[in-house]
Amino acid sequence: MKFTLSWLRDHLDTKADLASITDKLTGVGLELEGVADPGAALAPFRIAHVIEAVQHPNADRLRVCTVDAGEGPVSVVCGAPNARTGMKGVFAPVGAVIPGSGMLLKAGEIRGVASMGMLCSARELGLGEDHDGILDLPADAPVGRSYATWAGLDDPVVEIAVTPNRGDALAIRGIARDLAAAGIGALKTFQPEVVVGKGASSVSWKIEMPQVCPWVLGRTIRAVKNGPSPAWLQDRLRAIGLRPISALVDITNFFTIDLGRPLHVFDVAAISGDTLTLRPGNGETFRALNGKDVTVTPEDCVIADAAGVQSLGGIVGGEATGCTEATTDVFVECAWFDPVAIALTGRRQQISSDARSRFERGIDSALMPAAMEAATQMILDLCGGEASEVTSDGAEPAWRRTASLRFARLRDFGGAEVPEDEAEAILRRLGFGLVGRDAESITVSVPSWRNDIAGRGALEPAKALSPDQIAQMEAGVAAIEPEVDLIEEVLRIWGIDRVPAASLPAASAVPKATLTPRQVRAATVRRVLAARGLSEAVTFSFADSRVAARFGDTAEGLRLVNPIASDLDQLRTTPLITLASAAARNAARGFPDLGLFEIGPAFRDGARNTQQVVAAGLRTGETPRDWAEPARGVSALDAKADVWAALTALGVPSEALSVSADAPVFYHPGRSGVVRQGPKTVLAQFGVLHPSVVRALDLPTEAVAFEIFLDAIPEPKRRRKVAPVLSAFQPIRRDFAFLAEAATPADDVLRAARGAVRDLVASVVLFDVYQGERLEAGFKSLGIEVTFQPRAASLTEAEIEEASAKVVAAVTKATAARLR
């Protein structure tokens, strides 16, 4: 919402300066967006009388002028051809900055003659392109006066952001009222005189859609002369960014801004028949004043004449019945539309207009008759003519209601000690009427322009609430909401900044844990993965459906109805999709060797509460080159190590895990695994990314990935640890080499060895895997070290031999591997 300071002063009697006004606007909730003060740059420029202009003694094309700008004659050397004795011009004293050039004006001497200032052209003042000569002002221009003030160029334009609840502040009068309430001057009275009409209006109203338009006024004004509106009106509209069109249209725009009261003018000659009907649309199309064709629906309230739809009520008028320079008889529309209906129609039709933005916030219904009179008077003043009587249909919508405030609540809810009298005074200045007041509370009537106060919007209660509960909640809201509305009014005017800040009282001396165990898991995994050299990324939850398709089938429910871009059109089924794209971008930048991870949502089918938290990681390219350890391509087991590190850190016992080769399609089928705890619970999957995914995304050839399903990880049991067995006897270590078929999982050998001798095998380590020429084809050698930990006594050689034999037997039984 833009307005000029002079326009504000039409409604506000104030001596406050611009800065005080703008600060206060922000304080009361009408946030300042910007101030343009075109006069500021022109402040030093004054109107001057050229007492004498004579030829410069040393230059043919210069004149020496003796100029009086109110402070006595000074000498100015001027090159303008139109500089002449007796003229009035605009004088820039030494020290002024010339807006057109940014030049700082200094005292000087031009060809031997002193020059103590400058007479300016329009271009030099930044007021246009005219540089043929200096500004030539009328003879009656007052010498010494600020040029900007005299020319009306010093009127600052203020722009504020109006929140959706404040329809009344989309009017200069409403803004003035808030400022007056907050102590910036006094609100001027607005009481237009009634124009006594002659005869009935030749056009009348008929409401057939009262739920959208319950009340409408109209009047015909005959024999008007439409044309350009006067300069003052054009200047005002232009200053706030509106284009003057014609006097009749400019008048409607004036009242839209001035009173927040949109009006519309029909050319009576263009109306078919003598009745305008407010009715539901029926699929008709009409050409709107914005030049676009609008097709109306049965939910839209239109204004139709005998020929059809002419206007979309409350939003935009029609071209066919609009006023032109040729209009002689005009019909003025002043209607009240339901805010919700206008909001829905506006959104459906995708039309923004000054009328819509006001109607959808709510219009002051009590103002309609006065606004009609004020508009009539201005039309008569600017266009002449003769007004008919006012015609109407429907009735004023009910708006009268009261609200009460318990003074103690200003303190107990608002946290502020506002004196009771001051609270009352603030409400009164805002236009609330005093209904009653006692020691504890005050009851006021709500002004017609504040539909945001003590409104009766319905609850949208949770489905789980019983009818009794809902009734109780409705009673609670009815008791509290109007009071909170009033507290807000009092506090925003009294000053939110005056409410003393109070630290929250401690809920307990030592705060309880902030995170749930589930949240701690994510934090732990984040640190573990970062500590393992992976860098955390945050990528979008949506992906390109074409890329996502490479990661398996996706449910239709994951598609966005209104994606912002075609490559962000569905929710991702795994963070690997977006992470892999991120790795590809890094590779394209010249960084193919890297590790990324992300902890974020994976979506299953787009239903509520079906997303999972996944810690996904990706390693691409080679390990870092290093003098001590040669670089190598990343391997599936690097990804497995990441998984193991994370799961171990989360307290998952690694003995409880099994790996099977049934990872999803985006992994290499022979170099990937699914990690389960028990037979069912999938905790993670890892492996080499499938070559087709690598190729499609343009990833480095070596790319391994993992996904850890954090929600699937069981809570570690919080048991007290039993005391450890710290045996006094030395452990015995024995190495075994087994010859196993190449396909034998090493883990089977390790497990068999671990379980071979209960209470004696403390650990089993795989220290060698060999496959090659020295073995028969299709076989591999696995070297394991078994640690026996005796507890009661040192082992004898015979006992060691016996235990070793059990290890060999167990491994052979489980895997058919034999001792080499």
């Binding site: 009361v28 909730g29 946030e31 929140t163 805010p339 919700v340 909001a343 829905l344 809810f413 608002g414 946290g415 609850l459 949208e460 949770a462 509960q469 909640m473 609670g476 809201v477 909170v484 509305d485 507290i487 807000e488 506090l491 939110i496 900044d497 409410v499 800040a501 109070a502 929250l504 809920a507 705060p511 844990a513 902030t514 749930t516 934090a523 500590a531 393992r532 050299g533 860098s535 990324a537 990528t539 979008f540 939850s541 949506f542 598609r559 966005l560 109805v561 209104n562 912002i564 929710l571 971008r585 960084f591 890297l594 590790g595 787009g606 239903a607 509520r608 003098w627 001590a628 350890e629």
Partner: protein
């Protein structure tokens, strides 16, 4: 001391001193103290000495032997030290070689900021709550006093999914305020919670991302006032930005789910970007007293319970705190950017270490 013993001592000591390495020294030991050694021979010959002289001579030979053993071990220590020095001198390595630390991993600044928020609000007794990114229209709008015609519901801002839930459209949550509702329905007040999480709006340009992070907060109790709102948020902002006198300004505004509503500004210098000084104001978060209808929609009687809610952009406060200028780079995963702005996993945000 008999002359022959003294001469032997002198001879042995000279031989020990002359031994240049452990091997030479060992030869000297064998020559004098070995089984066939000369001093051993003297001891063996004591039997042939007359009994009255034997004691004195025996003592002298023993003294000679003990003395030589001491001299030998001293010489041994000297020669060992020399040999060690010689060996170490040959064992030099290039200690300027770069050590292998493995690649450095980092934590994303968004996660870091959330950790800091959790630490600071945690100290004020808040706990962290979470909820789904896919929400019904009721949790995201209706319950929060944003009726069907509210402008925020327009297609311009909200991402819709094709599915429905109980007859309601599914949306990507436009704020984490939806989790307020989930929490109020599942836990009775008093409540103190923060909800950091992903949020979505159909907006994409230099200063808007279709996905961003928000941290919602909710305090519900008896006797919580607007003064507490101001105190709590001022305490947070000063701790988060580590500026104990950071100017904080509250000004009236409007949100459907709070009343009174306030925007919160912090003081900064618009020209230099410096926080806490400069006389300009920067909008940083929205807040307000929880609207009675929001409480009532969740079955909480507004006559009994009251409190405040707030919401702030995680990226926004991160950008301000660290002087990051481009929002889009948060999601680009450029490894150079991540390494530059990321933080170490070994320095989690902890109040006792300073956030």
């Amino acid at each position: 001391m008999p002359d022959d013993i003294a001469a032997l001592q002198a001879e042995a000591e000279a031989a020990i001193a002359a031994a240049a390495d452990p091997r030479g020294l060992d030869a000297v030991r064998v020559a004098f103290l070995g089984k066939q050694g000369r001093i051993t021979g003297l001891l063996r010959g004591l039997g042939q000495i007359p009994a009255d002289e034997r004691k004195a001579r025996g003592a002298a030979v023993n003294a000679l032997r003990d003395g030589l053993e001491a001299v030998l071990s001293m010489r041994q220590a000297v020669l060992d030290a020399v040999a060690l020095d010689t060996r170490l001198a040959s064992e030099r390595m290039d200690v300027s070689l770069p050590p292998s630390l493995g690649p450095r991993g980092v934590i994303h600044p968004i996660s870091r900021t959330i950790e800091e928020m959790v630490a600071i609000f945690g100290a004020m007794g808040f706990s962290m709550a979470e909820g789904p990114d896919v929400e019904t229209d009721w949790y995201n709008f209706g319950a929060l006093n944003m009726p069907a015609h509210h402008s925020a519901r327009s297609d311009m801002d909200t991402f819709y999914l094709s599915g429905m839930d109980g007859g309601q459209p599914l949306v990507l949550r436009t704020h984490t305020s939806s989790v307020q509702i989930i929490s109020m329905l599942s836990e009775p007040p008093p409540l103190r919670l923060i909800v950091p999480g992903r949020t979505y709006r159909a907006d994409h340009d230099a200063t808007h991302s279709p996905m961003f992070h928000q941290c919602e907060g909710l305090v519900l109790d008896r006797g919580i006032t607007l003064g507490h709102l101001k105190g709590c948020l001022t305490d947070f902002l000063r701790a988060f930005f580590a500026i104990s006198n950071l100017p904080v300004r509250f000004r009236a505004s409007y949100f459907p789910f709070t009343e009174p509503s306030m925007e919160v500004d912090i003081g900064w210098n618009r020209r230099t970007g410096e926080l806490g000084a400069g006389g300009d104001w920067l909008e940083i978060l929205g807040s307000g007293m929880v609207h009675p209808k929001v409480l009532a929609n969740c079955g909480i009687d507004p006559r009994e319970w009251q409190g405040f809610a707030f919401g702030m952009g995680v990226e926004r406060v991160t950008m301000l705190k660290h002087g990051i200028s481009d929002l889009r780079l948060f999601y680009e995963s450029d490894i150079r950017w991540l390494r530059h702005y990321g933080s170490s996993p070994f320095q989690p945000a902890m109040l006792h270490e300073g956030v």
